[in-house]
Amino acid sequence: MSNAETKETTYKPTSPNSKLDFESVWEYAPAPQDSDFAEVKDRYELFIGGKFVKPSKGRYFKSTNPATEEEITEFAEATQKDIDKAVKAARKAYEGEWSRISAKERGKYIYRIARMLQERAREFAVLESMDGGKPIRESRDVDIPLVAAYFFYYAGWADKLEYAFPGKKPQPYGVCGQIIPWNFPLLMLAWKIAPALATGNTVVLKPAETTSLTALKFAELVKDCGIPDGVVNIVTGAGQTGAEIVNHKDIDKIAFTGSTNVGKIIQKSLAGTDKKYTLELGGKGALVIFEDAPIDQAVEGIINAIYFNQGHVCCAGSRLLVQEGVADKVIQKLKDRLETLIVGDPLDKNTDIGAINSKEQFETVNKYLELGVEEGADVYQSKCDIPENGYFIRPTLFTNVSQSNRVVQEEIFGPVLTVQTFRTADEGIEKANNTPYGLANGVWTDKGSKIFKMSSKMRSGVIWANTYNKFDPTSPFGGYKESGVGREGGMHGLAAYIKN
């Protein structure tokens, strides 16, 4: 089925009723980011024991650019034998050189990785956008700078662990199996690898099958930085490969970021073993906007909460809860703001919303769009042009929805926002908490005391006040309820890689 057909068979965007006209006589010319300098090989092997090795079964899978549907490269499929090899390499490195060198030396390697990432920042940004569909504005200004920041941050802790955990002799677990998602490929790698190395563990990491490119580029960088062989191993593959990691007997700890469904499967398979685990799972964050909020800035906050990274954000604010008195105003402004979002080529510097990460996810989001309409929601989409090829979805609002709708309850993981109203703070809190998830929420008000009240009563790991989707290496991140177990980032993130 061609992509164009799918788009035709969904539904037409409603025509905006704005008084403002953003179809200007002055349009921005294409401003493509130069990408020729970023080298992509025809095929990538597995990175095990400091070497690139062929997969034991000789199988490879294709990786496509979601913005063009063209194949970029192919990755090796790691099977049980390969995972075993990778774990052995990690074990050997852990028991060998990596535990013998001083903590200070360990820190030096991590600092070196951080610096090398900074030096090649633009290359990584371009590849991240090509492989995953995210706009270059984000990979360049958010993802890659944060990747370097996380490595720098954890490098600093490497020789200061006894200060982080006073009265303890902090000991690493050993070999960590790490499985990361496709929404922030290199950033999730950094969240996993940086604290693991800083605490003296070795790792076997599996990137998501649709976005493995930057992880393998990272493997090249690891090789260049001279860190002992086997400390970092990167294996590629899909769910089965992940399961091999989870079930491998010689892995001490599993760190997973991904969907709640897979998280539950992992938790089941780990039951009865002595493996430690941290899980970062899904979310359905609420954005609570009070009447006394700075409205124009709140609207901008909503944009950052749900349309950042095409809505492929586990902590995305996908449910807008707006106080009745300002609901019409906020919705009107939000609709106008949607008209100025530019959807298209991820490598264009002016693109705000890039491509949906994969065909599979594109279909999932479209199913939810249809479901919302079936459930009786009013749908609003911006009238922007979208490219003919590739997986693109216009930024979408569902109004006239309630808690009982599936589009309000379930994580869509796309550029789709549901809008509900509330009357009192208590009602806002109740609606915000009425979800199996508890990863992140946002609150907008001019009143400090209201922020404290809301943040003490909303059940989520992260609460942003008058802003959204802000990340910093010093800050712990993680969820309540079905959004996960454990914390990453900050000192909490170190604790997740230290024996109790």
Partner: protein, 299 residues
């Protein structure tokens, strides 16, 4: 028309405003869209001289530059207006006869506004009688900061009346208002009192125009338009010297208010040295080379 209670403050989050501005600044304007923006910016300039030393000779030169910004490129747009003190309005008017370049005059005891209202109105009427098409007035910042919002409102309304058919630009002097919330409130007062344009600064106080202040004023204009259907113009003035800055302002206007405001009837730059930088960039786009400033007239 329903007037809001000006004692109520509309909250503005400064951090959010700055973030929005920096996101807008990340737009990359290249090739055709850059050339178009440069010419558009040129057509929106209020070419200005506001010095104690202004003489008829100086104003005549300014007007000639306004009519023909750069002789090497004949098909350029002219600037929107020249902006002078009331005493120079007659000179400028004569010099610009037969063109559609407006003569704008500052009035109301510019730049401080510290004269009795009767004299400020006299000042305005004089400028209008000399032929000014547009009047740039200053608000009483002292009264504003003192909470006398009704007084500020009444004064603007009185000046508006004194303007007759001339367009009224109300200078808020945002550098003296200190908070974005004050900027928002002064914008609302000015628009409700009859301003055709709201303007950031006199150029005599630092900081003059800034992008966060401009964004807040454009958002005030947007809210006013949502409520009343009336389009108010915007003029940042002072401190805008480079073509790059000018293009950033145009992006802010485009993405806040849309196409209807992207013309000289609704958006102006109050500037003097901006003109030559725009010309230099236009020449660069045409020839691929930067020319020395010696090739651009300094009027």
């Amino acid at each position: 028309m329903k007037y809001p209670d000006f004692n109520q403050t509309i909250p503005i989050d400064e951090i959010g405003v700055n973030e929005r501005v920096s996101r807008l600044n990340s737009r990359s304007i290249k090739k055709d869209s850059k050339v178009q923006a440069l010419k558009l910016a040129l057509s929106m300039i209020d070419h200005t001289t506001l010095e104690g030393s202004d003489s008829p000779g100086k104003v005549i030169q300014l007007c000639k530059k306004a009519r023909q910004p750069h002789s090497a490129i004949p098909d350029l747009p002219t600037v929107a207006a020249v902006c002078v003190y009331p005493r120079m309005v007659g000179v400028a008017k004569k010099e610009l006869k037969g063109t559609d370049i407006h003569v704008a005059s500052v009035a109301t005891a510019f730049p401080s506004g510290q004269a009795p209202l009767s004299m400020r109105l006299q000042d305005t009427k004089f400028a209008v009688s000399e032929g000014a098409d547009e009047i740039d007035m200053v608000i009483s910042r002292g009264a504003f900061l003192n909470g006398e919002f009704q007084l500020v409102f009444d004064e603007i309304a009185a000046v508006k009346e004194a303007c007759g058919d001339a367009h009224l630009k109300v200078i808020l002097e945002t550098g003296e208002l200190h908070t974005l919330e004050n900027v928002r409130k002064a914008s609302d007062i000015a628009m409700h009192a009859g301003a055709d344009f709201i303007k950031t600064s006199t150029g005599k106080v630092s900081p003059a125009a800034t992008q966060p202040v401009t964004l807040v004023m454009l958002e005030a204009i947007r809210d006013f338009y949502y409520e009343t259907d009336k389009m108010i113009g915007m003029k940042p003035a002072g401190g805008i010297r480079t073509a790059k800055q000018a293009i950033q302002y145009l992006v802010i206007v485009k993405e806040t208010l849309g196409a209807a405001w992207l013309n000289k009837d609704y958006f102006r730059f109050g500037a003097s040295s901006l003109t030559n930088d725009l010309l230099m960039q236009i020449v660069k786009q045409q020839t691929g080379h930067y020319q020395s400033l010696d090739y651009f007239s300094n009027d």
